[in-house]
Symmetry: C2
Subunit: 182 residues, 2 copies
């Protein structure tokens, strides 16, 4: 049968980052044949590489660069999924500065192609995670650009979003919420 | 209107790598609203990072790591696309060692979810590029594991694959071939 890392038993464990929780959820979804979703590697601009004899190439100088897309994508029952995951320690609102214009543009382009796009938003101090539809996000994003508020109120995310609570082997059971978007 | 890099006029230019040709094709498809497909960043294992005051973090030691998926994925008219691109200088066959087990496993998992999976194979000395269906690739891969041949004959790829010839602004017009897979 499928093997899980031992950390799988620590669901709900505090201190796991949102990325770790999603990676575990994605592994579980993949080994159980439910979906294939991966986090993209962090884009790195490589400046200098050494090629020592008889051993692996060593990157000696490199810089983190800005991603041109969201962090996660994959396929679920024939549907293309595309999302980003963001944490905030703010209790009352999610600051829009956590998103970049190119991520919004990317999600819009994917939506236009029939992809299912959303954000996974974690309020760290509340220990609450939500799936929030990209269309709701666009509305706040566009309003901000017309001089509107720079954050999405917690109350809006709690009302329109879909709350995701940890299950055994599944820290963030987001596919159940995706089913409501289809 | 959409802006294209000036290299777009150099279609068919020798010396462009397959990756560069695909990146240009993907940019063209995206700005013209036909599909959203990106190459994933190269996965890097970071060992040491310096954080100089008042300037960007510098990665001082890192290594190339093996990708757990294929290099390209995205969405096209509601379809999830997943593929890898491989070049060979071999004229008579495509060596299967260009693929790794985890890439085959990943494509199979995506196929099982209803994704459209394939390889883009370039015979560099012939200057010929083909879209080759994942199912045809699996057949050779599995046969190899049972002691069969370690490469796919050029003749098989030319017969079953779909030839892709450069068009204006589109070095590798693979979506036309994808239409034949739907
Ligand atoms: Mg992110
Ligand atoms: Mg590759």
């Amino acid at each position: 049968g499928p093997k899980f890392p031992s950390t799988y038993t620590n669901y709900g464990k505090r201190g796991m980052t949102l990325e770790e929780e999603l990676n575990e959820s994605n592994t579980y979804y993949e080994v159980t044949g439910q979906a294939v979703v991966h986090k993209k590697p962090t884009p790195i601009k490589i400046v200098k590489v050494d090629y020592p004899k008889r051993s692996a190439a060593v990157i000696k100088e490199a810089y983190f660069s800005t991603a041109s897309t969201t962090d996660y994508n994959g396929v679920y029952q024939g549907h293309y999924l595309d999302f980003d995951a963001k944490e905030t320690r703010n209790k009352s609102a999610f600051p829009l500065k956590n998103f970049h214009q190119h991520q919004i543009d990317h999600m819009r382009a994917c939506s236009a192609q029939g992809g299912i796009c959303f954000a996974i938003i974690k309020f760290v101090t509340r220990q609450e995670v939500f799936l929030y539809r990209a269309t709701d996000l666009y509305a706040f994003w566009d309003a901000q650009q017309r001089g509107g508020r720079k954050s999405i109120p917690y109350a809006d995310i709690a009302a329109k979003g879909i709350r995701l609570t940890a299950e055994l082997q599944l820290p963030i059971p987001y596919l159940k919420a995706v089913d409501q978007l289809l």
